[in-house]
Amino acid sequence: MTGTLREFEMTGWADTRRRVGNNKMIIAGLVILGSFAVLAFIHPVLRATVWSDRPDIYRPVTGHDRSIRHPSGPTLAHPLGTDPLGRDVLSLMTYGLRPSFIVAVAAAASAGAVGLVAGTSSAFFRGRYDRAMTHLSDGFMLLPPPLVFLIASKRGLMGPLELGLLYGLLFGLGPAAIVVRSRALAIMEKPFIDAARSAGGGPRWIIGHHVVPHVIPHLAVVVLAGVVGALVTQGFVEYLGIGQYRYGLGNLVYNAFAYRFALGTGVPWSTLLAGSLSISLLASSFYMISSGLRAAADPRQSARRT
């Protein structure tokens, strides 16, 4: 490379940053995800500082404010109101975000890892192994992970972490592996793979340094879209109250319904909205990042926009 060309050169990171920065969907998704992450982390902080002098009111599951009627709308003491049992909704919501985050991260990480290994290996080794893996992936495509998630949640021994990992395993061997395999097959045809082979690169080097970096964006698109299903199913599992008892956003929604009928109060809108909107916003932030990545990775589209 001569000096004149160097100023037009763009590193992978700079290119990625430019594309991501130009895409509003990704930015919006990241902002939503970031604010939920802050909310999830703020719960212990608030309990240690602002809420520390009245722990009996702000304790997540068993707290109760005796001084007002419930359910109440937003006030200064209770920014998101209280639920029919008199518990602070902000405290419940920030506390309930944790299992959702655990499920999302576990599902994304395991689906990504499993999909990457299964997809690249079957594209690299071809032959009988590839055929067997493709049939297996077709099978997993037809077995919806949410249904298995619901069955497994009944076990009671499985918490959000295990359920997320299970969901990721099913999703990784199904849709993620199929997408990764087809991208990796396209990459394997490129001349630079032959060049690397003739330069003496072994399978591990070629997969690690040439195939994986090209496949990662496509993997991210499909895995992040898959997390949506995991989050909604987790919310529903909590809503049903099956699975290991661990307070989550689904419980918030369920309790709002259940105690509304039991106590005959009005519709506790603030509780319902806090619970269900948190689930859908958190899920949609993953979907937004996914579909934004899809657009950003497509050179024709991002060229048109600029």
Binding site: L136, M141, P144, V148, G275, Y287
Partner: protein
């Protein structure tokens, strides 16, 4: 072509066997308790029940037994001794009806709206619509169902009262649901096929009236069969209307996103540039040049994500209290009735496989390259 279809059917059969095998081990290993323990109090009766149900055999033997029956179309018996196939067939028409109406309406709305949104020059419109449909797609089903019941059902009850119907549907003649589901599916699929044919041959009026024509044909069929009153009573049942609307809302979000992504991808193609340069009107470029190319990837993405949509419907059905596949699924999880759970998963698999084969065949009919490619 016959060879191609045969190959796809064979593939479908193998895929189905794999799904059932995966489901068998997943359900047996993941579901915690034993049906026998739920029934018998004393250890001796538990052992007896286990022997009676064949649960004392090794898992692999149980699996081979199940597969041996499954291949012959036998889903076995539930632990109460009822045929799983008749249990599933009893609730299947409701689910299929809701799924067909919800899926097709959502697809039509999503296709139309997604095309407009992707074509719009105003980026504010596009980003608002996209964000809105992401929220619809990720809506939390119980809350969505609650909103529909809270705001929609009072209207529906008024409409029912004005038609002289009670607040709940009266039990109709046996087999009514089957007739309704089959009729709805035939009418809507027929309408869609007619619409596709009209689009290809550029019959604009036919294209617009094709689906309404199917609906009118369905309603006319009800009158001819003399089951109009009972049918309307069931079609306007609050729980199934709410379930269908919830499915439409969720699936609309997805199909709109897929379609608008497809259209905006196609818009970057050179032929659009050429057509504009020739002076072809924008609406014609959109509907005749871009949309047909964008529709197929969108449809195939929707069909491959269909098992997920069915899983969503299972949740919606449970939340609305419709007596369909979803309610059966949760009831059998609750009691640990493994054969019924497996039967439901297998039926979901069959629906998925059939749709995939139909999709592949239709695509191969339209695009000969696919036919050549897969036979090699």
């Amino acid at each position: 072509m016959a060879r191609f279809i045969l190959k796809r059917v064979l593939w479908g059969f193998v895929a189905l066997l794999i799904v059932v095998a995966l489901a068998f081990f997943a359900v047996n290993l993941l579901l915690p308790y034993d049906y026998a323990v739920g029934l018998g109090q004393r250890p001796r009766s538990v052992t007896f029940i286990r022997e009676q149900l064949g649960l004392d055999r090794p898992l692999v033997i149980q699996w081979l037994d199940y597969m041996f029956h499954f291949v012959r179309g036998d889903l076995g018996y539930s632990y109460e001794g009822l045929r799983v196939s008749s249990l599933v067939l009893e609730v299947l028409p409701t689910t299929v009806g809701i799924f067909a109406v919800g899926g097709i309406v959502a697809y039509l709305l999503g296709e139309w709206f997604g095309r407009l949104v992707a074509w719009s020059r105003r980026r504010l419109v596009a980003s608002t619509a996209n964000a809105g449909s992401v929220l619809l797609f990720t809506a939390f089903p119980p809350f969505l169902v609650f909103l529909l019941f809270y705001f929609g059902v009072p209207w529906l009850q008024e409409a029912r009262a004005s038609l002289g119907l009670g607040s709940r549907p009266a039990p109709g003649p046996p087999g009514l649901m089957r007739v309704l589901a089959a009729g709805v599916v035939v009418a809507l699929v027929g309408g869609i096929v007619l619409r596709g044919w009209a689009t290809r041959n550029d019959f604009r009026v036919m294209r617009l009236v094709a689906v309404p024509l199917g609906v009118v044909g369905f309603l006319g069929g009800l009158v001819v069969l003399g089951i109009w009153d009972e049918a309307i009573d069931w079609l306007l049942a609050p729980s199934s209307v709410v379930a269908t609307s919830a499915l439409i809302i969720i699936a609309f979000g997805e199909s709109m996103l897929v379609m608008s992504a497809g259209v905006s991808q196609e818009m970057a193609e050179d032929y659009v540039f050429t057509a504009r340069a020739k002076g072809v009107p924008e609406s014609r470029i959109r509907d005749r040049h871009v949309a047909p190319n964008a529709v197929f990837p969108a449809i195939s993405r929707l069909i491959t994500s269909m098992p997920y949509l069915i899983a969503g419907l299972v949740i919606i059905e449970y939340a609305t209290g419709v007596f369909g596949l979803g309610s059966l699924f949760f009831a059998s999880i609750e009691s640990g009735n493994v054969p019924v759970i497996l039967g439901i998963v297998a039926v979901v698999g069959v629906i998925g496989v059939v749709m995939r084969i139909v999709l592949d065949v239709v695509q191969a009919m339209i695009d000969p390259r696919l036919r050549e490619g897969s036979s090699g």
